[in-house]
Amino acid sequence: MQILRISLSISTLGLVLAGLLSLAAQQQNPKRQSNPFTSSEDVVAGSRIYRSHCASCHGLDGSGGGGGHGGQGADLTGQLRYGASDEELYSVLETGIPGTEMVATFFDGKQLWQLVSFVRTLAKAAQPGTLVGNAERGALLFAKKGGCVQCHMIGGKGGRKAPPLGGIGSSRSSKSLKNSILRPAEQVLPSHWTVQILTNRGEKVSGQRLNEDTFSIQVLDSKGRLRSLMKKDLVSYNINKKSAMPSYEGILSDEEIDDIVAYLSSLRRKRL
């Protein structure tokens, strides 16, 4: 009982202190200055917040692109889009990126700076090889030698046999992009599964399975038409979770793959 009371008062004290600190920080307008919370304790404090509030989207190691509650966070291990200065990073963490899954937070000034400190270590921790490629060369490989453009569309140009890749750099890490190119079979998004359908009327439909519920299934068919079919009108429908994407392992050199990854990573949603 006694112990409890003590710990309570200590935590209350802590709260008050934190409040005072943040007040002080606010008065100094912390955004205007460089990060005042960069000690190793601050990094640890930042990592704790990160684990519980950010990792579900950005991954424990910050490489983004997967896991978590359907959220797909950006890669934080490479070059940051909003990372030109600590102040910029701070304001992204505070206000979020409107219109994306990156939401605003309610952490106080100190906590935000600690997060900034931690996010900076993610980039340092990144394995060598992250974004070593040359995006310009990558763009060329994508269009020419790699033949990617025959299947994938970017910015209105390209084929329709595969999902468009415009903006993919905002949601996929360089690691997972590389994986998609080398080992496409490993992870296929459910909206990229394909489906073969036979209807009651004897029509065969195949294509990308965009959406599905108990009663119906939505498909972008092989002719490029958007179609919604009622399941009760189908003789059969078979979902194929395999990737129709060829592996480029051994077909393109490591350097070429890195270049393409750098190119895809640079395909970000328009910055505001």
């Binding site: 409107p98 209105g156 468009p164 959406n211 939505q218 038409r225 179609r227």
Partner: protein, 536 residues
């Protein structure tokens, strides 16, 4: 019977086809009533559909087919497009979804990333998309124009049209004419200099710009005192119409800035509160007609230009019918812009009438004043942007009106700071408060005789309405109310045929389409789109 119907529905959902909207299809939209390919349905903007499966005899058999719920709390002013069984819709303000028009199931969604701060006078709204070939086009509240792939929702291109920090935003649905996308900018409350401009449908490249406020050396510039033209307003926030035979496109232009203090912008203030006719190939002005010279009440001429070919005083003519926010109904010749008729369609006290040349004769002392002036109609106008409709079957013009509702107009400080409101004070009471207003006025759907503006019938509502109208070959007319009552009226006499409480403010204009054998009608209320069809 029931199985049969179900089968019909099944085929309906199974046969949405590849969306290829050619220029020809847009030109002949009238003859493809199953589709809804432009904001107003056709280039004539009559918001009339030839579909008649749902009609006067069977409207009571309507039932709700599906609902689309927006994941957003902004006002839902968008008119959907439907092409070959696929509905394309903006979710307020600038997300885009493609859904199965028969079942409402989603194919894809484009999520717009948008700044937290935008300069919009009246909500972060969007009124819809345009489609051409396999591309969708959308203007955004942050001043961008996007082209999306209709099959996947992926971005073809995304360009900045105008700097939103200066008070500009794009809220209208673009209009496609031949190989051009025509858009304009909102911002009449922010001291913008309005314009209409054209972009290449394929690349987005800007092709021409027409300033709605003429600059030095241009005709009309003399209607602005001093430098006032630089911040003269003249926004464009509602889709225009097009006459392919004349190759003219017609647009209604917004209020002059600052709205309620005309002292700093003496003169007629062209082309604010006007209809302009442009050549879409080069953006050159062919003619204009100004409804409210030197407006001091915020009466944008932002209404749908309704193009009608019909006899006028015994002679077949190409007309524009226009129920204006200022309370007058107008008939113009759309070949020359000649003024033909004007008649007040609500009680108003700002003008003694309109003279033979089409110029209003202003009543004295009805402009804004420091102590406030009570003037009819209100700041929201006698009608506003929500669509009127013209039925070729009845030959009547229908519109949503606000009757006997005044505003008290105050004149105030007209200081301009970039990106902030520049209105010169604010009138009281934008919407009537039915619990405190002693003069709340009322809303009504009215049918006017197109040649004279005489009232043919009215359907009176307890409250004013922001819902547009649509009429169909089924001889019915669709509308709704602020409180969410969706109503269907008889086009001949305004009798109520059917109604349903949709539980939220109706702020778009109804539209209709057909998938296989079934006609559907879509309206928004609150934050959802409700789609109706006949019972199976």
């Amino acid at each position: 019977m029931r199985t049969l119907q179900i089968l019909a529905l099944a085929t309906a959902t199974a046969s949405g086809s590849f969306s290829q909207v050619s220029t020809d299809r847009l030109l002949n939209a009238e003859n493809e009533p199953s589709q809804w390919m432009t904001y107003s349905g056709t280039y004539k903007s009559q918001r009339f559909s030839k579909l008649d499966q749902i009609n006067r005899q069977n409207v009571t058999e309507l039932e709700l087919k599906w609902v689309f719920q927006a994941e957003s709390l902004d006002k839902f002013q968008s008119t959907p497009l439907v092409v070959d069984g696929v509905m394309y819709l903006t979710e307020p303000p600038n997300n885009v979804v493609a859904i199965d028009a028969a079942t409402g199931r989603r194919f894809w969604k484009y999520t717009h990333n948008e700044p937290t701060k935008v300069n919009v006078c009246c909500g972060r709204v969007n009124r819809g998309l345009a489609i051409w070939k396999n591309s969708l086009f959308m203007g955004t509240v942050d001043g961008r124009l996007l082209s999306l792939d209709a099959q996947t929702g992926s971005v073809n291109w995304d360009i900045t049209v105008v700097d939103y920090l200066g008070g500009y935003s794009i809220t209208l649905a673009p209009l496609i004419i031949k190989d051009k996308i025509i858009i304009g900018t909102a911002g009449g409350e922010y001291g913008i200099r309005g314009f209409l401009q054209a972009h290449d449908v394929r690349t987005g490249k800007k092709l021409w710009r027409f300033y709605t406020i003429p600059g030095p050396g241009e005709p009309g510039h003399e209607t602005w005192e001093g430098d006032s033209w630089k911040r003269g307003g003249g926004s464009v926030w509602l889709t225009g119409s097009y006459d392919p035979e004349l190759n003219l496109t017609y647009w209604g232009i917004g209020n002059p800035s600052p709205d309620w203090n005309g002292d700093v912008r003496k003169g007629d203030n062209l082309y604010s509160d006007s209809v302009i006719a442009l050549n879409p190939d080069n953006g050159k002005l062919d003619w204009y007609y100004q409804f409210t010279p030197h407006d001091e009440w915020d009466w944008d001429a932002v209404q749908i230009p309704v193009l009608v070919d019909r006899p006028f005083k015994g002679k077949q003519r190409k007309l524009i019918l226009w129920g204006n926010r200022n309370g007058f109904y107008y008939v113009l010749d759309r070949v020359t812009g000649e003024f033909l008729v004007a008649k007040a369609f609500v009680y108003q006290n700002w003008a003694k009438g309109i003279d033979k040349k089409g110029r209003p004769i202003r009543a004295p002392n009805q402009g804004p004043s420091a102590e406030g002036t009570k003037t009819y109609p209100s700041v929201q106008g006698a009608t506003n942007w929500y669509s009127p409709t013209y039925s070729p079957q009845t030959g009547l013009f229908y519109l949503s009106v606000w009757e006997s509702y005044p505003s008290t107009y105050y004149k105030g400080d007209p200081t301009y700071t970039r990106g902030n409101r520049y209105v010169g004070s604010l009138p009281q009471g934008i919407y009537p408060n039915t619990t405190t207003d002693t003069e709340p006025g009322y809303g009504a759907v009215r049918a006017l005789a197109p040649e004279t503006g005489e009232l043919e019938w009215e359907f009176k509502m307890a409250e004013v309405s922001e819902s547009g109208l649509m009429s169909t070959a089924g001889n019915i007319l669709f509308s709704g109310s602020m409180q969410g009552q969706f109503v269907i009226l008889d086009v001949f006499n305004g009798n109520l045929l059917w109604s349903m409480n949709l539980g939220g403010r109706m702020t778009n204009s109804p539209m209709t389409y057909q998938v296989e054998d079934s006609q559907f009608v879509a309206v928004s209320a609150g934050h959802s789109l409700f789609v109706f069809g006949l019972k199976d």
